[in-house]
Amino acid sequence: MAVTKVVMPKLSDAMESGKIIKWLKKEGDRINGGDILAEVETDKADVEMEAFGAGVLRKILVPAGETAPIGALIGVIAEPGDDIAAVVASAPATPAGAASAAAPASRPPAATPSAPVAPVARPAAVVSAPAAPTSLGQGTQSGRVKASPLAKKIAAQTGVDLRLIQGSGPGGRIIRRDVEAAESGAAASAMPATARPAAVSGAEFEDVPLTQIRAAIARRMPLSKAPVPHFYVTSEVAMDRAWELREQLNALEGQPKISVNDLVIRACALALLRHPGVNASLQGDAIRVYHRAHIGIAVALDAGLITPVLRDCHAKPLAQIAVEARDLVERARNRKLRAQELSGATFSISNLGMFDVAEFSAIINPPEGAILAVGSVRRVPVVDDAGLGVGRRMMLTISCDHRVMDGAMGARFLQDVKRLLEEPLRLLV
């Protein structure tokens, strides 16, 4: 009998659960391997989910709009005559259902490996009241989050939301020190999501449920900013010649349009090759130095920030970078990125130039070792040998992980980026 369990796939590194946006097939439809079954919203983007087995989509267990943790059974594909009762019974009951249904007494052995015992938590449910739940309540509420009993108790007492914490224990289990770190260090940034009961009557605020992306950012950024010791190096770049070059390139017919960001990407890619210490990542007790420059490009969406990755930038000419970067950004906006385009960056660039920002500093996206923050190209008064004139200037600020590199390394890298942009013909050779 060929019963195929459809489970929530892991579509990105950081993904823990996914929300079914819509099913593209309905119960009773015939499915061939490779058919797109559904669209899934992950913490990073909307991704299409392919079918692996062939047969008839017999049962949809997680309807559109509901969230399921990765590995959870969300549907069953089988031939019309096959008995799917046992497989269906192995799934947790409907998300809203009681957790008591999560562990049926007798479960067929074949169904165990991928069927999670965890019930799906409602997205808006947040631990906030400092009151300790009873031990029974603890058990049901805790199902979705992998955390030690002690971590759960401390979280309940301090009001820390375990769903916003990344566990450092075996298999990502949240242990005491994770909760304590979240409480002391990152509480401030995690808190906006936490609804504290109002002491007085009358609605003074509303609680907007976190989007998947926002929740991922809320979970990951404290993990970057608190444990990663950041330092910042800022440099001003004379962009007159780069600006001029860009205008000339963009005047060429049949050539792709080049943006300032494309120039910055190209400059960074070349500089990263020369400064591998910046293209590096802390891996426990070693520093991994990358020989290829995969650059994450931060893209602002209404739902939050995502960082698609442009691979092998060091090996791509400017025109190719321009075409591919534009495609990535557009697909990010339309939420059509493929899962593999969301991970594996060795360095990132965040550009707020379009918002008339003079300069800013960005938060490193671990395990990357650095991120470059790009300001606007502004026309400013400059003094040179000819006297007072008007020039185009751009501020670059690099945030570096001090565990991986020192100030001088960041400064030398930035100096090289500056030189490449100030002598922009170097970007073309």
Binding site: S135, P149, K153, G284, D285
Partner: protein, 460 residues
Amino acid sequence: MATHKFDVAVVGTGPGGYVAAIRCAQLGLSVATVEDDRPGGVCLNWGCIPTKALLRNAEVVSLMGHAADYGIRLSGFEASYPEAVQRSRRVADRMAKGVEFLFRKNKITLFPGRGTLKAKNVVEVKGTGGAETLEARAVILATGSEPKSLPGVTIDEKTVISSNGAVRNEHAPRSIAIVGAGAVGVEFADVFASYGVQVTLLEALPRVVPVEDEEVSKELARTFTRRGITIKTGVKVASVKPGGPGAVVDLGGEQLEVEQVLMAVGRAAKVVGLGLEGLGVQLERGFVKVSPAMETSVNGLYAIGDMAGAPLLAHKAMAEGVVAAEAIAGKSPRPVDYGNVPSCTYCRPQIASIGSTEARAREAGREVSVGRFPFTANGKAVAMGETEGFVKVLADRETGEILGVHIIGPEATEIIHEFAVGRTLEATLEEIIHTIHAHPTLSEAALEATLSALGQAIHI
């Protein structure tokens, strides 16, 4: 002089060294070990294992003495101390052979002799058959420790002995003064007292087993005193001189005449003569300074076990050996959790503890709830006729975190592990009380003490 190349050279084959060697071999590395004694180190040959054999003898002798309590009438019996020592030698020998077997099974080459570092990756082995040179990608030092003495007191292993001499003592003395009431001191006090030796236990600190919880010290002092062991705490040994039946111990005013003196005042890392100075290996308070991956200040040179610092326990050394081996094999091992190392003493009643004592937990500012359960209320202990002692559980009042557990009583050293596992998993009192404990077992006392910390003990 032949030069041999290996991935890893391990100097010292005590519990740290042989475990590290085996774990390296399991991970596919070629391994050489260097040992100037039998494989197994102090632990198997002169420490843990032979003393446990002697303590078992002491237990049997003492049981024979209480045979009438069980309705067994003996018409006299003779307990031969020399034969007890011979038995302990056979036990040690068998365990050392076990290590030799494990080396063969894992294709680990043993170089008998003394190892010295010539460079950070070169070990020179001087054995009876000449010198050989080992070249390795990484070197693990595991040379262990040796007994310390007091200033002015020389250990001759005849009249003034260390634990090394004590396990080799072919005859029990008529009287002995044991200087130091830590684990080694109280274990030998038990052995000698069981064989009718007049034992005086001397401790500079105010109580016996001073690192344990205060209530445990009190309970041990009470049972030892009842068994005829003289305990003097808060005393300083001014000098040990020949005289009387063997030696005269001057306690600054009081003189003690005994046949032998056992120095059990602690152990010092064996770090001299290894070639550490030339390589600039950093030490800290006499121990080799190591990273969480057990690497010394010199890249590629690792140190584990007693020489790498407290606690000086075989099981800590084994755990460190695994970490060092995995680090060398390029894995990222989970570092040893030094806050969760069980500490065990095998005198009767046995003592086992993990985590903080009550005093230290309170000093750390914790709101502590304390649970206690005596073995007198435990069915299995009563049936065994071993009702001395108790289990004491310390927990954080708010969270139920298990801060420390202190057990004195029968098989305490076996009971402690449920709390070790619990603490590793960050279990709280609730997880322990919801774990069904088999009846009748000594471990029920652990459950009851945990219940007691929540004010819910059933059987008392």
